[in-house]
């Protein structure tokens, strides 16, 4: 069953454990390009036999200012989120400001078999979904037993 949220495989469990350890001890080695945990936008990554699926949870971002690029196996998502209340008057009091504002950039190292010519990106309901196809030769094949 496909599920974007609750991965049960060993990879994601290990991933979660590593992040918990990181928060406790302040740093096991991770990819030099990975941001600290909790960076905006948060990202989930999954794979199918045909593609690599990346979802960036980036609500309230102007699509025109959203940039998705692939360069030598590195997928970069960047843009800027403007403050919600730009017309704040003098009498405006702020009680909470938890939502991220400002420029952001996240990079994802794609596996070797990713095909940079087969990329689709779509922004709906505040989620950016990027689908990167895999090269034909890398897809799983059933081997006929003679």
């Amino acid at each position: 069953m496909s599920d974007l949220y609750s991965g049960t495989d060993l990879f994601s469990e290990f991933d979660r454990l590593q992040r918990q350890m990181e928060s406790l001890f302040g740093g096991l080695p991770s990819s030099i390009r990975s941001s600290r945990f909790g960076a905006f936008p948060q990202i989930n990554i999954g794979t199918t036999d045909d593609s690599i699926e990346i979802v960036a949870f980036a609500p309230g971002v102007d699509v025109a200012g959203l940039d998705v690029a692939i360069d030598r196996g590195l997928l970069t998502i960047s843009g800027e989120r403007k403050p919600a209340q730009s017309d704040a008057g003098d009498d405006t009091r702020t009680y909470a400001q938890e939502r991220f504002t400002g420029p952001f950039r996240r990079a994802i190292e794609l596996p070797q078999n990713a095909d940079p010519d087969k990329v689709q990106a779509r922004y709906t309901n505040g989620c950016l979904s990027v689908s990167v196809g895999k090269r034909e030769s890398s897809k799983p094949k059933a081997i006929t037993v003679q």
């Binding site: 496909s2 949220y5 918990q20 609500p59 702020t94 309901n125």
Partner: protein, 144 residues
């Protein structure tokens, strides 16, 4: 649960809670208890009332529930639905749950019948107007 004004003081704990929730997952041995994420919010107040913005990525209007109960609390509950191809195997997850929930207590000076909600690109904007009689009035000082 918090009132909007307590929020300012409790900002730090809220942020910490959010981060914990983000990595928490439904435990395999507790299938009935559902974890929810606490959405990040901005809360502003001016003379007209309060404006609240909440991040709800992947939430559509029909999966969003905003209500004020008899107890005077404002409830925001939502479920994110992100379409994915069949056969997806999750490799890395920073958002571990599709459910959002957050509750605020409202003081009686808000007109709960006139709350306005708008959801756009995964951001909820709520405006809570103050009752007319609760709005600040400038009192003219007479001199002789």
């Amino acid at each position: 649960m918090q009132s909007f004004k307590e929020q300012a003081m409790n900002d730090k704990t809220q942020v910490a809670e959010r981060d914990q929730n983000a990595i928490a997952r439904r435990a395999g041995d507790q299938p009935t208890r559902r974890m929810t994420l606490t959405p990040a919010v901005d809360v502003f107040e001016d003379s007209r009332g309060i404006t609240l913005w909440a991040d709800l990525p992947g939430v559509t209007r029909d999966k969003l529930d905003v209500k004020v109960h008899d107890d005077g609390n404002l409830y925001i509950e939502a479920v994110a639905v992100v379409p994915t191809p069949t056969g997806l195997r999750l490799q890395h997850a920073e958002i571990g749950e599709p459910r959002f929930a957050r509750t605020f207590s409202l003081s009686p000076d808000f007109d709960t019948s006139k709350i306005f909600a708008n959801l756009q690109n995964g951001v909820l904007k709520l405006t809570l107007p103050r009752r007319d009689e609760a709005r600040p009035r400038q009192i003219e000082v007479q001199t002789n």
